[in-house]
Amino acid sequence: MLTTIAVFAPLVGAVLSGLFRPLLGKQLSIASSILFMGLSAAAGVMDFAQAVQGGATLPPLHIATWISVGSFTPDWTLRQDMLSLVMVGMVSFVSALIHVYSAGYMAHDKTVPRFFAYLSLFTFAMLMLVTANNLLQLFFGWEGVGLVSYLLIGYWYERPSANAAAVKAFIVNRVGDVGFAVGIALTYLVFKTISFDEIFAAVSAHAQDHYRLFGTSFPALEVVGILLFIGAMGKSAQLFLHTWLADAMEGPTPVSALIHAATMVAAGVFLVVRMSPLLNAAPVALQMVTVIGASTALFAGTIGCVQNDIKRIIAYSTCSQLGYMFLAAGLGAYPVAMFHLINHAFFKALLFLAAGSVIHAMSEEQDIRMMGGLARKIPFTWAMMLVGALALAGIPPFSGYYSKDAILDVAFASHTAVGMYGWACGTLTAALTSFYIARLFLLTFHGTSRAPRDVQDHVHESPLVMLAPLAVLALGAVGTGLVLDHAFIGAGYGNFWQGSITVLANSPMNFFESDPKYIELLPLLASISGFGVAALFYIFMPSLPSIFATRFAVIYQFLLHKWYFDEIYDAILVKPTLRLAKFIWHVGDEQMIDGVPSGLASLTTDASSQTVKLQTGSIALYAFVMLVGLLVFLSIFLWVR
C-alpha cells in the first residue's frame, strides 16, 4: 500500500498541476504538486523504514495487465524488494525537497505549474522505473524519465540553445535505448520471459547458451549484458554517450539537481545492479562495465578541471561519479555501487541546489570567472556548498568518503587487470575531483569579486524556502555515509539487501577490508593533494592557472573542448546524416524511384483544362493498364503452362 501511494501520488500531482491548472489556478496547482510529492515522500520513506525494521521482503504488487502476447507478458507490477525500496525512499525524498526548493527558485517564472507538473511526472516515471518487476516496465520508466528530461531541458523553449540541448539529450539517450530494447528482445529470446524473478531463476540453466553474431558464436548472456549496458551508458552519460549531459544544464537548476544528478542519470547504475544475477554470469560484459566506468570517471574529471560554467563543472562531476559507480558494479561489488549512488544523490543534489542559490544571488550569472568573494555575502549558501564539496571530494566524515573509499578498495582487492585499471583511474580521479570542486568553490566564494558593480550590489541570500531543503540535503551529505555504511556494505550486507542483489562469493566485495593500510589512505591523500593544488592555484598564486593554460595550450584547449567529442560527432555523424537525408530524398526518392511513375502521371496531366483531363486521362489510363495487365497475365499463364 505504501509503495502504491509513493509511486502514484506524484502522478496525481502531475495531472492536477498540469491538466487542471485552469481550474485550480496557479498557486493551488503548485501546492497540489508539492503536497502530493510530500505524501509520496512520506510513504516512500516509511515504506523503506518498515522494510528495514521488518527484515522481510514484500512480494511484488500486481496492478494490471499490460501486454499479453504469446509468452511476452509484462504486467504493471510494483516490485518491493530492498533494492527497489532504497531507491523509492531516496527518489521520493530528494524529489520532495527539490519540489519545495523549486517553489522559491521558480517563483518568478511565467508558467510554473507546467514546471511542477513535469517535476511530478518525472518522479512518477522514476518510481515506476525503480519498482519495475520486469524489463519492459523498467523501460517504460526509463523512457518516461527521458521524455520529462527532454521537456525540462527545453523548459525555456524560447531559447534556441535549450531546444537544441533537449533534442540532443533525447536522441543520444535513444541511441542507448536501441541497445536496451534489442537487449530486452534478446533476453526474451533466451529466457522466454522478461520478468526479473523468472530470468534470475533461469540464469544458470542458460549460462552455456550461445548466440551467433558476426559469423561467430558468443555466449548469449554476454550479448544480453552488453546490450543492456549500452542502454545504461546512454542514460548514465558514460563515455561515448556522455555528450548530452553537459548541454542538459540548459534546464532550470532544480532540474539539474533532481534529474541530472540525483535520480535519472543513476538509472543506468540501478539497471546494472538490478540485473546482477544475470551479469554475474556475463564476466566479459562486467569487465566492459568497469572499463567504461573507470574511463568515464577519469575522462569527465579531466574536463571538469577547466570548465568555467558552475553547472557544467558539476555536470561533468556527475558523469565522473557515475563512472565510479559502474566501476564498482562491474567488479561485482553492487552494494558498494548502490552505496555511492545514494550518497551521491544527496551531496550532488546539494551541490546543484547550492549552485542554484549562487546563480540566484548572482542575477543568473553562471560563469565562475565572473564570481568571487561571495562567502561573506551569502554565508549559508557558502556553508552548504562547502559540505557538498567535502562530501564529493571524499573527506571524512562526509558521505563521499565512505563510498569512494570502498570503491577504490574493492578495485584494488579484485587483483584483476581490469580492477587495477579501475583502481588507477579512480585514484587519479579522486585527486582531480577535489581539485575541480575546490577550484569551483574558491573561485566562487573567495578572492575578490569579479562581477559587475550592479550584480554585486544585488547579491542576496536566497529565501528560506530554498535554504531549508539545502539544510536537509546537507544533513544527508554528512550523515548518509556514516549511517548507511554498515548496513549497505558492512559484514552483514546480505541481511540488509535480502537477496535483492546477488553478490558472488568471489566478489571483491567480500574481502576488500583486507587491503593494505596505505591503499586505504591513498584516496584521502589524493583528495587532499587536489585541494592543495587548487588552493595554490586560486588562493596563493592566482597567476599560475593562466601560465599553465598558455604553456600547455594544446592540452588546455583539448580539455576545454571536452576532448572534441561534440565536434567529432558533428563531423562524422550528424552532418553526414543530414546531408545523406537530403541526398536520398532528392536523388533517391524524387528522381530514381519516383522518376518513372511521375513521368507517366505527368503525361496524363496537363495544367490546362484539368477537369476534362481528369476524365479522359484516367479512362485512357485505365484501359491502358488493363491492357498491359492482360498481356502480362497471358504471358505468365503461357509460361507456367
Binding site: T65, W66, S68, V69, G70, F72, L136, F139, F140, W142, E143, G144, L147, Y150, G154, Y157, E158, N163, V167, F170, I171, D177, V178, A181, V182, I184, A185, L186, Y188, L189, L213, T577, L578, L580, A581, K582, I584, W585, G588, D589, I593, D594, P597, S598, A601, T605, Q610, L614, G617, S618, L621, Y622, V625, V628, G629, L630, V632, I636, V640, R641
Partner: protein, 510 residues
C-alpha cells in the same frame, strides 16, 4: 460460432449508403444543404461507429475463426457468393474505419466546395472500406478493394491542393497496376480451388511454384496500398495534395488495406513463397524504416514530414508480418491500429494550422506553445506516440515487432529498432520547428488555441493513443486466437511435405 439475429456486418457496411441516399435527396439553398449534409454524414458515421462497438462487444474472442458469417447466393454458376464475416484480425480494422470516419467528417467541415458530392464520396469510401474488411469471398473482396479507389480518386482530384490532378493520377496509376495483377491471382486461385470462398481458399494448398507468381501479384497490389518501400512514392504526393479528411482516411485506414491483404491472403495462402520472400520483405521493411526516416528528416513541410513518417511505420508493420511469429504479427496488427490513430491525430494537427491560414513550411512556424498550449500538448502526445514512447500506443506495436524479429534475425531486430532513434529525430525536429523557439512571423502570435470542433476530433484520438498504450490487452486478446492459429498453420504448412497439386492443375504445373 457467433451470430446475431440480424446481419450486422451488411448493416454496418451498407448503412453509409442510406446516408448517401438521404444526402442526395436533401433540398434547399446552398448553405442549408451544406449544413444538413454535413450533419447527416456525421450522424450516419456515428451510427456505424455505435454498431461497430456493438459488434466488438458481441464478438467472442475465444474463437479463432470467422464470426457473424452471412452468406447469400450471388453468382451460383461460378460458385461466387456474397459472404461476409469477421475474425479478430478484421474486427479491429472495421472498428478503426468506423472510428476514424466520423473524425474525418468533422475535419471536412472546412470543405465548402461541392459539399454534397464530397460527403457522398466520403460515405461511399466508408462502405467500400468496411465491406472490404468484412468480405469473406475473394470476388466480393476484390470489388470492394477496387471500389475504394474511385471515391478516393475523386476526393483527391476534385478537392485536393494545387497539384491535385498529378497526385490523383499517380495514386490511381500505382494502385491500379497492383489491382490488375491481383485480379489475375484471383482468377488463378478460383481455378485452383473451384470457389472464391476465402475460408475454403485458406484451406486449399497451392503448389510452391505457383505460390511465387501469386506472391508477386499480391505484392504488387498490397505492397502499393501499404506503401511498402519502394512502391511508396505515390504516397507523399497523394497525402500532400489530398484535402485533409482525404489524407486522414488514406493514412489511417486505406494504408491498412495492404497490410490486411498480406495477413489475410499472402501469409496464410502462400506459406512457402512468403517464407522464401521473407528476407526480401525484411529488406524492404528495414529500408523503409531507415531510408524513409532519413527522407522524413530532410522534409521542410510539416504535412510531407508526417506523410514520410507514415511510410517508415509501414516498414515496421511489414517486418512484423513476415516474422511469422505471434509476437511479430500481433505487433504488426497493433501497429496498424496505433498508426491509424496517431497519423490521423498528426494530420489533424497540421490541419489546425491550415485552418488558421498558416502555411506548413517548417521554417515559417515556431513558438506556438506559447499561444496554443492545448494544441501543443496534443501534438506532442501524437508525436511521442509516433516515436514509440512507452505508455503510448506506438510503443506496444514497435516492441512486439522488435521482439518478434529477434526470433528470426538479430539484424532485422536491431535495424528495425533504429527507427527509435530516427523516428525521434524527425519528430523532435518537427516539434521544435512548430512549437518551440521564437515566433518566426508576427501572425503566429495572434493564433487562438483549439476550438470545440478540433477538441472533438483530437481528444478521442488522444484517449485512444493512451488507452492502446497503457492497456493494450483489451485489444490484443481479441486477435490472439486468430494470430495463433495463423502462425500454427504457417509452421505446419512449412513442415509438411510439399502440398500435392490438385488433380485439375497437376498437368498445368508439370
Amino acid at each position: 460460432m457467433n451470430s446475431l439475429s440480424f446481419p450486422i456486418l451488411s448493416l454496418i457496411t451498407f448503412l453509409p449508403l442510406a446516408g448517401v441516399l438521404f444526402i442526395a435527396s436533401v433540398r434547399g439553398d446552398e448553405a442549408s444543404v451544406a449544413r444538413n449534409v454535413r450533419w447527416a454524414a456525421l450522424w450516419t458515421s456515428l451510427i456505424v461507429l455505435a454498431l461497430s462497438v456493438y459488434l466488438w462487444i458481441s464478438f467472442d474472442p475465444a474463437v479463432a475463426g470467422f464470426q457473424f458469417i452471412e452468406t447469400s447466393t450471388w453468382l451460383s454458376g461460378l460458385d461466387v457468393q456474397y459472404r461476409m464475416g469477421v475474425d479478430g484480425i478484421s474486427l479491429f480494422l472495421v472498428l478503426l474505419t468506423a472510428f476514424i470516419t466520423p473524425i474525418a467528417i468533422i475535419a471536412s467541415w472546412s470543405i465548402t466546395k461541392r459539399v454534397r458530392e464530397f460527403m457522398i464520396a466520403f460515405l461511399l469510401l466508408e462502405t467500400m472500406t468496411i465491406g472490404m474488411f468484412c468480405a469473406l469471398d475473394f470476388v466480393v473482396f476484390y470489388i470492394f478493394f477496387e471500389a475504394v479507389l474511385l471515391p478516393m480518386y475523386l476526393i483527391i482530384g476534385v478537392w485536393g491542393g494545387e497539384k491535385r490532378i498529378f497526385a490523383a493520377v499517380k495514386f490511381f496509376l500505382f494502385t491500379l497496376t497492383g489491382s490488375v495483377l491481383m485480379l489475375l491471382a484471383l482468377v488463378w486461385m478460383w481455378r485452383n480451388a473451384g470457389t472464391t470462398d476465402i475460408v475454403t481458399l485458406l484451406r486449399t494448398p497451392i503448389p510452391p511454384q505457383a505460390q511465387t507468381w501469386l506472391f508477386i501479384a499480391f505484392l504488387a497490389s498490397f505492397g502499393v496500398k501499404a506503401a511498402v518501400w519502394p512502391l511508396h512514392t505515390w504516397l507523399p504526393d497523394a497525402y500532400g495534395e489530398a484535402p485533409l479528411p482525404g489524407t486522414i482516411m488514406l493514412a489511417a485506414v486505406l494504408s491498412k488495406m495492404g497490410a490486411y491483404g498480406f495477413l489475410r491472403f499472402t501469409v496464410p495462402m502462400l506459406p512457402h513463397a512468403s517464407a522464401v520472400a521473407a528476407p526480401l520483405m525484411f529488406t524492404f521493411g528495414v529500408v523503409a524504416v531507415i531510408y524513409v526516416s532519413l527522407v522524413a528528416l530532410a522534409q521542410t513541410d510539416m504535412k510531407r514530414l508526417i506523410a514520410y513518417s507514415s511510410v517508415a511505420h509501414m516498414g515496421v508493420i511489414i517486418i512484423g508480418i513476415f516474422t511469422f511469429t505471434v509476437e511479430g504479427i500481433e505487433g504488426a496488427l497493433f501497429q496498424m491500429l496505433s498508426h491509424g490513430v496517431i497519423i490521423a491525430g498528426l494530420f489533424i494537427c497540421a490541419g489546425v494550422l491550415l485552418a488558421r491560414g498558416e502555411g506548413l513550411a517548417l521554417s515559417r512556424l515556431g513558438g506556438l506553445a506559447v499561444r496554443m498550449p492545448a494544441y501543443a500538448t496534443l501534438l506532442m502526445l501524437f508525436a511521442l506516440g509516433s516515436m514509440g514512447l512507452p505508455g503510448t500506443s506506438g510503443f506496444v506495436g514497435e516492441i512486439l515487432v522488435i521482439v518478434g524479429a529477434m526470433k528470426v534475425n538479430f539484424w532485422v531486430s536491431l535495424l528495425g529498432a533504429t527507427g527509435m532513434v530516427l523516428g525521434a529525430a524527425y519528430m523532435l525536429v518537427m516539434l521544435r520547428a512548430v512549437l518551440f523557439d521564437k515566433f518566426t512571423s508576427p501572425s503566429l502570435d495572434g493564433l487562438k488555441d483549439l476550438r470545440p470542433a478540433e477538441y472533438a476530433m483530437l481528444v478521442p484520438l488522444a484517449v485512444m493513443v493512451l488507452w492502446l498504450g497503457i492497456y493494450p490487452a483489451s485489444f490484443t486478446h481479441i486477435f490472439d486466437a486468430p494470430v495463433n492459429a495463423l502462425v500454427q498453420a504457417h509452421t505446419a504448412a512449412l513442415t509438411l511435405p510439399q502440398p500435392a497439386a490438385p488433380a485439375s492443375l497437376a498437368m498445368v504445373i508439370k
